[in-house]
């Protein structure tokens, strides 16, 4: 499809370095082990199956409000998560289910929150867009486009202040990349050398508006150049490429060189939210990406071609993942609605 070609993900994306600084970030190519590939596959599949189920439950009325699915973008969070260390922080926008699962949050707690139940991560008070896990260093789940960017920059500020070596992954989309507060954050992050990786998930559409209709500079990895922040374009459909870029970026931060930007070229298969009929793109465009560039299929091919697992083994894995999702659904259905008294809790912290 011509349209999808124009959007840049029907061809393998070449990495580009906007500056020497970015080139310096690149490390030696590391090999992908069998264990890594199988974990990537399994983690991506969990997100996909979970999201498919969430879409289904939304249609059944068990999930309410807004529900933004991550299907198609799985390689981004799985690759990035593999690039960071225990204790590093993650935050993102409202399309956040995949990030939570990748961070190791319990699918049961995430699903229960989607369904507004007592055992949800926010005890039913946050929903799909507002979920957090202090334990897993997941700092949300933010419903206002772009608002997580200064917050992530502030988490990085706290890490630098404490000199604890931690890195903050601040995800945002191509739509948010036009928000003013993003650039206010870029300025301070570089000015104060804050250890933050800005991961721009360019899924080509801000709700229904394509990147080229909304952005004067469509190469979003260049958006930091006015602030001297290096950027790199990454094939966000290739989990291994994502991990490699993520490692370079995290090292750049941990070496005290300040922030960096990764533009992930990716694609969302579903609409912006459940109520989006996606009339702004053709069915063929979506179908083309699904058939030729799907990150999970690509990972699967790598596994089978290398002989790391055969079809039967992968089918077994698929079954196990379906069981995990089914268990999460059952758990959530059985979890009661929040206690009415919960209405009044967690507004303010008690003063000790």
């Amino acid at each position: 499809m011509a349209a999808s070609k124009a959007n840049g993900n029907t061809q393998p994306v070449k990495k580009k370095s906007p500056s020497k600084k970015a080139a310096a970030v690149k490390a030696k190519k590391s090999t992908v082990s069998k264990a890594d590939l199988l974990k990537f596959y399994s983690d991506m599949l969990l997100i996909r199956r979970f999201e498919e189920k969430a879409g289904q439950l939304y249609g059944m009325g068990l999930i309410g409000g807004f529900c933004h699915l991550y299907i198609g973008q799985e390689a981004v969070v799985v690759g990035m998560q593999a690039a960071i260390e225990e204790g590093d922080q993650v935050l993102t926008s409202y399309r956040d289910h995949g990030h939570m699962l990748a961070c190791g949050m319990d699918p049961k707690g995430v699903m229960a929150e989607l369904m507004g139940r007592r055992d949800g991560y926010s005890r039913g008070k946050g929903g799909s867009m507002h979920m957090f896990s202090a334990e897993k260093n997941f700092y949300g789940g933010h419903g206002i486009v772009g608002a997580q960017v200064p917050i992530g920059t502030g988490l990085a500020f706290s890490n630098k202040f404490k000199n604890n070596g931690r890195v903050t992954l601040t995800y945002f989309g191509d739509g948010a990349s036009n928000q003013g507060q993003v650039y206010e954050s870029f300025n301070m992050a570089e000015l104060w050398s804050l250890p933050v990786v800005y991961v721009i998930e360019n899924n080509q559409y801000a709700m229904g508006t394509s990147v080229k209709r909304a952005s004067s500079e469509t190469h979003l990895y260049r958006r930091g150049s006015g602030f001297r922040i290096p950027g790199e374009e990454v094939d966000g459909m290739d989990v291994v490429a994502v991990r490699e870029a993520g490692r370079r970026a995290a090292k750049w931060c941990r070496d005290g060189k300040g922030p960096t930007i990764l533009e992930m070229k990716t694609y969302r298969y579903r609409g912006h939210s459940m109520s989006d009929p996606a009339k702004y793109r053709t069915r063929e465009e979506v179908q083309d990406v699904r058939e030729h560039y799907d990150p999970i299929d690509a990972c699967k091919r790598r596994i089978t071609q290398a002989g790391y697992a055969n079809d039967d083994a992968l089918k077994k894995l698929d079954k196990e993942i379906k069981a995990i999702v089914a268990e999460a659904v059952e758990f959530s259905k059985n979890s009661p609605e929040p206690d009415p008294e919960e209405l009044y809790t967690d507004v303010l912290a008690a003063v000790s």
Binding site: G141, P150, G152, F157, F161, V351
Partner: protein
């Protein structure tokens, strides 16, 4: 023609300053633009440039003189052709100390437009007279010191920064410039640029960054140069700081203080003069504080910095330079959410906050002279609002006047009137009266500004109306 050089104001709210240095001596030729003197206030230092040409005829105020009122003549410049006959020379000039003007010599008739807030004469309180309002909670015999509100705020921050090394201050001009209003004076020197941080002019960004730092375990104090600029940051204050604890089921904590001057200053017009108290008070998840006295400013700011919740701390530029008695204590903390009866009375209750307390107290004095004994309550905290103290007062007086600098619609007075109607309807002997700013953007012209803002005269009138006094 001789030209008087007047003591200049460094800001619309400056009332007096120190004449630190003369760069010229009598008899010197002066060209327009020459730096002739240096003046200082507690906020800033500035050079005085000559705006006329001539010869320095007479220096009226010697270098080093403190407390020189704005607009007092400090020197006389003579036109050059006057030099021969009229200009006093060094030799025939009288000794400088002979006619040295003192504070007492300073004219009392400072133009009204130069008074803080361009306020009406009736409202004027001598900023230099220490106002003693004893806090009933203080142990008897507590020593007191006289501090400006500005110093009290600075001391509060310094004490809390010494106590807890996760506390830091960020904002525009807070570090090297020592604060746009000199509230953070000396903090950079003591706490270094790691903890006293100059930001770019980027309210939305640095407010969100502060929220993130609070999520990350620090205790930020975010200074807004004024709260007018915090509108740029409103989303981060409301959506991120106030709501995240709830949305996270209690997992996320946002211990942050947003502070800075709020309300009308003086002659800075609509975009720089607004009382945001009702805006923030509307939002669950925030605590909102608006102190009047220096003691309350100190005790409440210290409590705010320790509080585990996001706090909006509304100061007032005009109050910064006012002096009050502040308890000398190792750790002077005041409870958030507790109003204070600053004057006891029986005939009517006036509820006010921030600078409006000054109007209320002035009005109370005037009314006392007319035999009306009013009780004045300083709310101090606007959220949570201390209804109990108000209700108890209404039960005693039966009459209520609210005073605020903001607009009437959906204002603090509207909220209080509603609560009193709900909880003390049977005790009311008259409808509640509200005093507020006129329902217009604040104008620039001195007379219009004065007409728009509330003052003690309006409070007196409102009290008389609820007491049915003609």
């Amino acid at each position: 023609m001789s030209i008087d050089v007047l003591m200049p104001a460094l800001s619309p709210t400056m009332e007096e300053g120190t004449l630190a240095k003369w760069y010229v001596k009598e008899g010197d030729k002066i060209t327009s633009g020459d730096v002739i003197a240096e003046i200082e206030t507690d906020k800033a230092t500035m050079e005085v440039e000559a705006v006329d040409e001539g010869v320095m005829g007479k220096i009226l105020i010697p270098a080093g003189s403190e407390g020189i009122k704005v607009n007092v003549p400090i020197a006389v410049i003579l036109e050059e052709n006057e030099e021969g006959k009229a200009a006093p020379t060094l030799s025939n000039a009288p000794p400088a100390n002979e006619k040295e003007p003192t504070l007492q010599d300073a004219p009392e008739d400072v133009p009204e437009s130069l008074l803080p807030g361009g306020r009406r004469a009736a409202v004027t309180v001598d900023a230099q007279a220490p106002q003693t309002l004893s806090d009933p909670d203080l142990p008897a015999g507590t020593a007191m010191q006289t501090l400006t509100v500005r110093e009290a705020l600075r001391d509060a921050m310094a004490e809390e920064m010494r106590r807890d090394d996760t506390v830091f201050l960020m904002g525009e001009e807070v570090a090297q410039y020592q604060g746009a209003y000199k509230v953070s004076q000396g903090l950079l020197e003591e706490f270094t640029d790691k903890r006293v941080i100059d930001t770019p002019i980027t309210e939305h960004g640095f407010s969100g960054l502060g929220v993130g730092a609070a999520f990350g375990g620090l205790r930020p104090i975010v200074e807004f140069m004024t709260f007018n600029f915090a509108m740029q940051a409103m989303d981060q204050i409301i959506n991120s700081a106030a709501k995240t604890r709830y949305m996270s089921g209690g997992q996320m904590s946002c211990p942050i203080v947003f502070r800075g001057p709020n309300g009308a200053a003086s002659r800075v017009a609509a975009q720089h003069s607004q009382d945001y108290a009702p805006w923030y008070s509307h939002v669950p998840g925030l605590k909102v504080i608006a102190p009047y006295s220096a003691a309350d400013a100190k005790g409440l700011l210290k409590s705010a910095i320790r509080d585990p919740n996001p706090i909006v701390f509304l100061e007032n530029e005009i109050l910064y330079g006012q002096k009050f008695e502040v308890p000398v204590m190792d750790d002077f903390l005041l409870p958030i959410g507790k109003a204070k009866v600053v004057r006891a009375g029986t005939d009517a209750t006036i509820v006010a906050y921030s600078r409006s307390v000054e109007y209320a107290l002035t009005a109370a004095e005037t009314l006392a002279g007319e035999g009306v004994d009013v009780e004045v309550i300083d709310l101090r905290t606007l959220r949570p609002l201390d209804s109990a103290t108000i209700i108890a007062s209404i039960q005693k007086t039966g009459r209520l006047v609210t005073v605020e600098e903001g607009w009437l619609q959906c204002g603090i007075g509207a909220e209080i009137a509603t609560r009193v109607m709900e909880q003390a309807f049977d005790y009311l002997d008259a409808p509640v009266a509200r005093v507020a700013q006129q329902d217009v953007p604040l104008p620039y012209a001195a007379n219009l500004e004065a007409l728009s803002l509330p003052g003690a005269g309006d409070v007196v009138a409102a009290v008389k109306s609820v007491c049915y006094i003609e």
